[in-house]
Amino acid sequence: MSSIRCRQLCKTFKQGDEIITGLDHIDLDIDEGEFVCLSGPSGSGKTTLLNAIGGLDTPDSGEIHMGNIRVDQLERGPLADMRLRHIGFVFQAYNLIPVLTAQENVEFVMEVQGLAAAERAQKARAILEEVGLEGMEDRRPAQLSGGQQQRVAVARAIVSHPDLVLADEPTANLDSVSAGHLMGLFQELNQHHRITFVISTHDKRVMRYAKRLIKMQDGKIIGDEAQES
């Protein structure tokens, strides 16, 4: 399910009278279980590519395949269902739901998936403990620091063991110890559960964990190399 194939992917944005190229004829194959980092300067197209793969944004042209599914041609309903069942997202700005506690935020996806309350609660508490937020389950996002919120967002993305995790700058607000711990967790999930990770980052510490590093600039892939983690 989680092998990704992009063909001639293009996306442009209009900013006033100016046309900005987000993705410029991207061809990319990511196999199931890969641990990929997208790197490049701001505006290079990393987030746009993540959004297109995750079905959050539709490309102007080109194809996106996830397993046998043609993502770019899915209707809104099936697309939402695909995100719910197969993809975990970590957003750059955390995007936690302010009225829910840390635990409820983590439970949100499982609740929409229809899991029983007891099972949800147990899984949510376990993953929060794993990301170092034990004892903070009942705090609302406003009562957590930026780094803690980021960890809740990560916990929410991985708690239901999706096939694919798309993470946009997941360590942006973490200190090096927390970042290392988080990347270790990603690595473990990747190795033991064969979850595919595609991470957009500027952070050299994160890049070190990647088995494959894709460099982007001006909406194009300018480098794609395997590396020892």
Partner: protein, 403 residues
Amino acid sequence: MAWRNLWRHWRRTWLTVGAMIFSNGLLIFAMSLQFGSYDMMIDNSLQAYSGHLQLQHPRYLDDPKMRYAIDDIAATAARLRRELGLASISPRAAGFALASSEERSYGLQIIGVDPAHEPLVSTLPGLVKQGRYLEPGAAGEIIIGAALARNLKVKPGDELTFIGSGFDDSFAAGVVRVVGIFESGIADLDRALAQVDLAYFQEVFAMQGRGHSLTVRAQHIDDVETLQARIAALLGSNESILLRHWDELQPGLRQAIQADMASNSFMYIVLIVLVAFSVLNTQLMSVLERTREFGTMMALGLQPGRLSRLVMLETALMTALGLVLGIFVGLIINLYLSRVGFSYPGMDEVALKFNLPERIYPAISMASMTLGPTAVAVGSLLATLYPALRLYLLTPIEAMRAV
């Protein structure tokens, strides 16, 4: 989640719920009072003269001629009283005549009534302001309306002569003494109605025991339909007598009520629309400020339809709160007013003039308690359709980029 979302901005939520409570309470109060005033209006009009039901010759209502009469009317009335176990049934006979005093002559309608039973079906006997009401079996006595007495320039004790046409087209003439003058507050009655004893009427107008109507008054307006069914069952297939409902006897009354309801409905609709706009404002603001959050939910896989339902549920919860508290407030006001009544400055003067009660009592019914709040609830839910539709059409990426 919907419940918690409501209390993020508790002042705004309470303002909206407060508008609902106020409008629900006001609608319940106004409708109950309105229905109460209709009951009063109906009772007052029907009790004055026509009663709740009348038995007549089938053609008498449309063509009130002397010859369309019921035979042996006093005996029929007695039989019905006995079989229904209801005393408030009174026979009447009616004729037109020219009445003359020493100075003037006026046309009038003379009604032959049973003085023993007439006070049970009509308030007119109690409205005699000068002199007294008729005594049973007293021939040659008449009571007349106040306006007619002024026009004829007569007072209790004065004599009147009248001349009309009898059942057999013979002359019907008599000399009567005015024993009482009534003031009903109803211009038509006060200006042109007179009552004499039924037996005297039957003798003068050659009715031979006949009469034109049996007037029936139910214990309460709500009992009329049941009583109507019982009388209809007793009449069976008797084609010479037709039972008339007050709707037929006084069609103008129902029309007046319907016209009043229509004009009041406009005011109610304005109130409901105002509340609906308040809800629209609240929910639209609420949706706009949470657009990023909704984008996140959609990104995580929540179906757009479920998001719309979330907003609808928030409104439904607010509406439920407004409904329960509004009905509670409306009920408290109504219960209080049903004890002490409702009045406004100057109402006692109007009441005195038109022989109305000095206070209106609200009619607490399922309709008055639920119609208004239901309309507010439906209006509020309809007002949320637009914000819900906006949400449904959002895409995750657009929503998450929203400021």
